[in-house]
């Protein structure tokens, strides 16, 4: 249920503007990989190229190669829709469907794969909500609107919705930036549990969070405003935070810029 991602020579554009340049890296299965770097350095853009969400924006395109185990995600004839079913995404702001109940939100992705029985849906919904550590809080109000939950609960609902379709990889774009510290802690605990099953990639602005949850960390930076963002270095998280090999990484981690 977890696959490796291998990226080589990846560029991403918004129209004529090159947002990220020449990124190559390997993301290991059953581990948490954190992307850190100053705002505008392209880490979110890069994350969105990994499940072909980048191209949803008009004028956006990608050059280079992304391999999920042996499948080329940008190969000819590959349907972005099926890529997104394999690689799920959690967004910066919790975005449950406002017109749907908690139950329907979790079941939304399931129903895309055709008709499935009510009992099977019930089972997956419970399993996913348990998986997202939300079951005990919502089991008595599954038919209440998802928008009525707190921010942290909504974000866990989005994670439940995501894991309900059983993806190989979970991409998280600053999943805690809109949450309070306690909700953040709940999500971080959840990430640590989920990495047994999924390949997880998380973008974060919070250095402590990267240090707490991730196994490997990648630092992105851009040479100057208007220049494309690049991968500066990537290593074991412990090594990155104690003994980075690049001066820029050390400066960023110790808070000298960014």
């Amino acid at each position: 249920m977890a696959k490796q991602i291998q990226v080589s020579g990846l560029d991403a554009y918004y129209g004529a503007h090159k947002a990220i340049a020449d990124i190559s890296m390997t993301i290991e299965p059953r581990s948490v990989t954190a992307f850190i770097g100053p705002s505008g350095c392209g880490k979110s853009t890069f994350l969105r190229t990994l499940n072909r969400m980048h191209e949803v924006i008009p004028g956006a395109r990608v050059e280079g190669k992304v391999m999920l185990d042996s499948d080329d995600l940008y190969g000819p004839g590959v349907d972005p829709v099926s890529v997104r079913r394999t690689i799920g995404m959690v967004f910066q702001r919790p975005n449950p469907f406002p017109t749907m109940s908690i139950y329907e939100n979790v079941a939304a992705g399931l129903r895309l794969n055709g008709r499935i029985s009510k009992s099977k849906t019930d089972e997956v919904v419970e399993q996913s909500l348990r998986g997202a550590n939300l079951w005990n809080e919502v089991k008595d109000r599954l038919n209440k609107p998802g928008a009525g939950l707190s921010g942290g609960q909504q974000q866990r609902l989005c994670i439940a919705r995501c894991i309900a379709v059983k993806p190989q990889v979970l991409l998280m774009d600053e999943p805690c930036s809109a949450l309070d510290p306690i909700s953040t802690l709940a999500i971080e605990d959840l990430i640590t549990e989920l990495k047994d099953e999924f390949t997880i990639v998380i973008v974060t602005h919070n250095m402590q969070q990267a240090a707490r949850v991730s196994d490997r960390t990648a630092f992105f930076n851009l040479a100057a405003q208007g220049q494309p963002g690049r991968l500066v270095e990537m290593d074991e998280t412990s090594a990155m935070f104690t003994n980075p090999s690049e001066k820029a990484t050390e400066d960023y981690i110790t808070g000298r810029f960014g």
């Binding site: 969400m53 949803v56 997104r84």
Partner: protein, 281 residues
């Protein structure tokens, strides 16, 4: 509103007292005869029937156009198309009416006979004779008239769907159409319903376009292909100039009924929207 209602009631009462028949159920409209006989039955039926038909025809097309503009068309085409739709909304109704009489009435003869021959078992398409100047033709003209306003409002509503909800659906592996079903249509439903009610209100109040087309008969028939049809507004427009004292009062009474029908439709729509959004918000 209250002042209008009071005016209508005050003007209508003398005529209603002079009436020699039941105003609510009588089909005939001869208020200038002695004794005067008139009733709202056929007119109210024609108004509701033609508007409902128009709405049923316009809704799918309007929502489709709105979705195409908001979510499918490339930006340039969407802009141009949106402009055309807005422009259509500004065409005076008499122009639609004339187009209906001069072009659509002769044109509809063939398709109407076709419908009657092959789908005649269905009550709406049954009956004899079949003519071009029918309830169906009037409803088509009404549908074309209300389409731009429904499409324009629906488009605005669809454009307001939060980007993050659409992305949530796409990231789950939804195709564009699945994303629309999952995120856009549920979010837009109350707005689209208000657009429909606005369109329905306009169709019911429409006067000159249907006055030109309706054969101005007084009867209730479900066959929409025959030479039948009339509406309250059209009847007022056609009859007001030559009406006597009782006749004017009678027409004003019919206006009052139209006023009540539109009020009821609007309130029903509001209740539906409130219940829907109350259940889901």
């Amino acid at each position: 509103m209250a002042a209008i209602a009071v005016f209508l009631i005050a003007e209508a009462i003398p005529a209603l007292q002079a009436n020699n028949s039941s105003f609510l159920t009588e089909l005939l409209w001869t208020p200038n005869n002695t004794p005067p006989v008139f009733g709202i039955g056929a007119l109210a039926f024609g108004t509701i029937m033609s508007s409902a038909l128009a709405l049923a025809m316009a809704m799918p097309v309007a929502v489709g156009v709105a979705l195409f503009i908001s979510h499918y068309a490339p930006r340039k085409i969407a802009g141009a198309l949106g402009y055309v739709v807005d422009l259509l909304a500004a065409v005076p109704s008499v122009v639609y009416g004339l187009w209906g009489v001069i072009f659509l009435v002769p044109f509809m003869q063939g398709p109407s006979e076709f419908l009657n021959e092959y789908l005649g078992w269905f009550p709406l398409f049954s009956g004899d004779p079949v003519v071009g100047r029918s309830m169906l033709t009037a409803a088509i003209v009404l549908a074309i008239m209300i389409l731009p306003i429904i499409a324009a409002i629906s488009r605005e509503v669809f454009l307001q769907v939060p980007r993050m909800n659409e992305e949530a659906a796409l990231a789950l592996g939804a195709t564009r159409w699945e994303m629309i079903k999952m995120a856009v249509l549920p979010f837009g439903r109350p707005g689209v319903m208000s657009a429909a009610m606005l369109g329905l209100g306009r169709a019911m109040g429409e006067t000159i376009a249907v006055a030109l087309i309706f054969p101005a008969t007084f009867g209730i028939t479900f066959g929409i292909l025959g030479p039948n049809g009339n509406s309250i507004a059209a009847n007022i427009a056609l009859g007001f100039a030559e009406a006597g004292e009782v006749g004017r009062g009678a027409l004003i009474a019919s206006g009052l009924v139209l006023f009540i029908i539109t009020l009821v439709v609007n309130m029903a729509a509001r209740m539906i929207i409130a219940r829907r959004s109350g259940a889901s918000a």
